[in-house]
């Protein structure tokens, strides 16, 4: 005799959805809402002067292609990325090798080297602004010692020096990030494999390419992905160091979008840019995440 109150379905079947609901709601707020909002507004003609909400078709998107400043900003972003990323990677790798073998005090060295990575990028930019000062900053002073005469380089103003300054700051802050991750990855490489290679007579480069690199690649790929995306979105350091100047020389895509939205108040046009950026990055990111095996 079965009890009359027998259930017909799993009483906990909706539990899993209750758990996810608040998080998904918030993610839609920062994920899907901006996407659709930008899409909608980008078909209108809203700016500081005019709140014309009529349909403007692809007017704003047409302007994207004519916007020289936008394409320059994209170029600046790419320039910084392709220079800074490999340097951070190689320097980080070299540093990881330096600290791979145990040595007394290693933990202290590593802890000190991590400092730049954990401070706010705005603070990092501000710090380098002080360091780079042409008169009272120590950089020119130190360079003067080597040059044998006073150096008065205008790091954040001189068009020839402003990129080196930005990239230097960027490398200073994020090489430790690469270093830490690669040090951990290298430490996890099976020692018996490298030792067997050494016994077989393989040199350093051969061992590295054939054994070490394949072993650390999954981790390295994720480090490159994280840093690459951060670089493409670079804003804080530029803002603190040069604010995109001189002129628009160091304007990255983020700085330019910000300027369009919050200085020029080109609402619809900014929405078009934002939509473009979201779409491009979503596609690239989703592809990269799958490709690089971040999704287990």
């Amino acid at each position: 005799m079965a009890a009359a109150t027998a259930l017909r379905a799993n009483p906990d079947r909706n539990f899993r959805y209750w758990l996810l609901t608040p998080a998904i709601f918030l993610l839609l707020l920062v994920g899907l809402f901006p996407l659709f909002y930008s899409l909608a507004v980008s078909f209108m003609r809203i700016d500081m002067m005019d709140t014309d909400t009529s349909f403007a078709g692809l007017y704003n998107y047409g302007n994207l292609f004519k916007d020289k400043r936008l394409w320059e900003a994209l170029g600046h972003t790419l320039l910084i990325t392709v220079i800074a990323l490999p340097i951070e990677l190689l320097l980080g790798l070299a540093m990881a090798y330096l600290f791979l073998e145990k040595m007394p005090g290693r933990q202290i060295f590593v802890s000190l080297l991590v400092l730049p990575t954990i401070i706010s990028p705005i603070v990092a930019g501000a710090t380098w602004r002080l360091l780079f000062d042409n008169r009272f900053g120590p950089i020119n002073q130190i360079l003067g010692w080597f040059a044998g005469h006073p150096v008065t380089a205008l790091w954040t103003i001189n068009p020839r020096l402003v990129y080196p300054a930005i990239i230097f700051c960027e490398i200073w802050q994020w090489t430790p990030f690469m270093f830490l991750i690669l040090l951990a990855a290298l430490s996890n490489v099976d020692r018996s494999q490298t030792e067997a290679a050494a016994i077989d007579g393989a040199g350093f480069s051969r061992t590295f390419l054939r054994i070490v690199l394949p072993a650390i690649w999954p981790v390295m790929a994720i480090a490159i992905l994280i840093r690459g995306l951060d670089l493409v979105r670079i804003f804080d350091i530029i803002w603190a160091l040069t604010s995109g100047g001189p002129g628009t020389m160091t304007e990255t895509i983020s700085v330019y979008t910000y300027a369009q939205g919050f200085k020029q108040f080109e609402t619809s046009y900014t929405a078009a840019i934002a939509f473009l950026v979201i779409v491009i990055l979503t596609v690239v990111v989703t592809w990269a995440i799958r490709r690089m095996g971040l999704a287990k």
Binding site: M1, A2, A3, A6, P11, D12
Partner: protein
């Protein structure tokens, strides 16, 4: 009265059909062992009884109450897991008390029950320790203790001894058997180890590919297996299988030797069959041949002493046969011996249906 009744139970994982229609009724107080090779669905069946897996079809009743869709906690069950499932951040006392606390028992009652269980299992001095400070056997006792304090209607064991070393496993087996006798509770025990099944069970449910292959007392299954699979699964050393041809009441082996079958079998003359003979049913020839025994002369190939007994391998009917003999009967390889096979207990299998005939 039955404590557990399963009707027409199916379980699918996507397109994989793990449990294919099981009907089972477990009487109150019985120790039932679900046994079978890995992938036979025994663990899935147990987990479905526990409510950790949803039944795809069919019903489960525990204590005459339909619990097919009830939460695990509403099923009046207690379970011992393979890897002990002890909470590493709680000491032994809290681990055992966990279920009682979850059910809001009074502190005095909790203390009483935990101490009782600890005494019963001989882990009284360990109550303040953390799980990581315990040996494997001690952890297993704590896991069992956590189940017995619950005083549930149904106790489920999911391969609880498989992580222990051989010696400990023997000890714990005795312990579990003793607990069952003391508590008199209905217990369902999953294992892939046929020795555990034979020694512990009041009744064995032998599963294969999601269906019940045979169900009965250990001796039933051992002496009267229903199929080739059951015959081969139970018993150690394994049952010997010989191809043969029936001719009346005689089985003719491929090397021409004839063995007279004891008792009446259903096979037709000329039918090819498989003859199953347990190593325990072979003995060294005495002065006279006992009724129903067949006497054969063989040449010893291999001798494996196990202490009290000795496993002797010899060729017969185109196969290597194993016989379990008394230690004092030890022979040397190459020696010619005469053996008696108890043909009344031999089984005859139809090679097509794989059923015993």
């Amino acid at each position: 009265m039955s404590d557990l009744k399963i009707t027409g139970l199916h379980k699918y994982y996507g397109s994989f059909h793990a449990v294919k229609g099981i009907d089972l009724e477990v009487p109150s107080g019985e120790f039932t062992v679900l046994v079978g090779p890995s992938g036979c669905g025994k663990s899935t069946l147990l987990r479905t009884i526990a409510g950790l897996e949803e039944a795809s079809e069919g019903t489960i009743e525990i204590g005459n109450k339909d619990v097919t869709w009830a939460r695990p906690r509403d099923r009046d069950i207690a379970m011992v897991f393979q890897n002990y499932a002890l909470y590493p951040y709680m000491n032994v006392f809290e681990n055992i008390a966990f279920g009682l606390r979850a059910r809001k028992f009074a502190t005095a009652e909790i203390n009483k029950r935990v101490n009782n269980a600890a005494d019963m299992l001989g882990i009284g001095p360990l109550l303040q320790r953390l799980p990581r400070e315990l040996s494997g056997g001690q952890r297993q006792r704590v896991a069992i203790g956590r189940a017995i304090v619950r005083d549930a209607r149904l106790f489920l064991f999911d391969e609880p001894l498989s992580n222990l070393d051989a010696q400990l496993r023997d000890d714990m087996r005795v312990e579990i058997k003793r607990l069952h006798q003391e508590l008199g509770r209905t217990m369902i025990y999953v294992t892939h180890d046929q020795i555990e099944a034979m020694t512990l069970a009041d009744r064995i449910v032998l599963l294969r590919d999601g269906i019940i292959e045979q169900l009965g007392s250990p001796l039933d299954l051992f002496e009267r297996p229903a199929s080739h699979f059951v015959a081969g699964f139970l018993g150690s050393p394994k049952m010997n299988f010989l191809p043969a041809t029936l001719s009346g009441n005689t089985a003719k082996l491929s090397d021409g030797k004839k063995l007279v079958l004891g008792g009446k079998r259903d096979g037709k003359t000329g039918q090819t069959v498989i003859l199953g003979i347990r190593p325990q049913h072979i003995s060294l020839s005495g002065k006279s041949v006992a009724i129903g025994h067949a006497r054969v002369a063989v040449t010893v190939e291999l001798v494996q002493p196990t202490g009290s007994r000795v496993h002797v391998t010899f060729p017969l009917g185109g196969k290597s046969l194993v016989a379990e003999l008394e230690s004092r009967d030890v022979s040397k390889p190459g020696e010619k011996i005469s053996i008696d096979i108890d043909m009344t207990r031999a089984i005859v299998i139809d090679p097509h249906s794989e059923k015993v005939i």
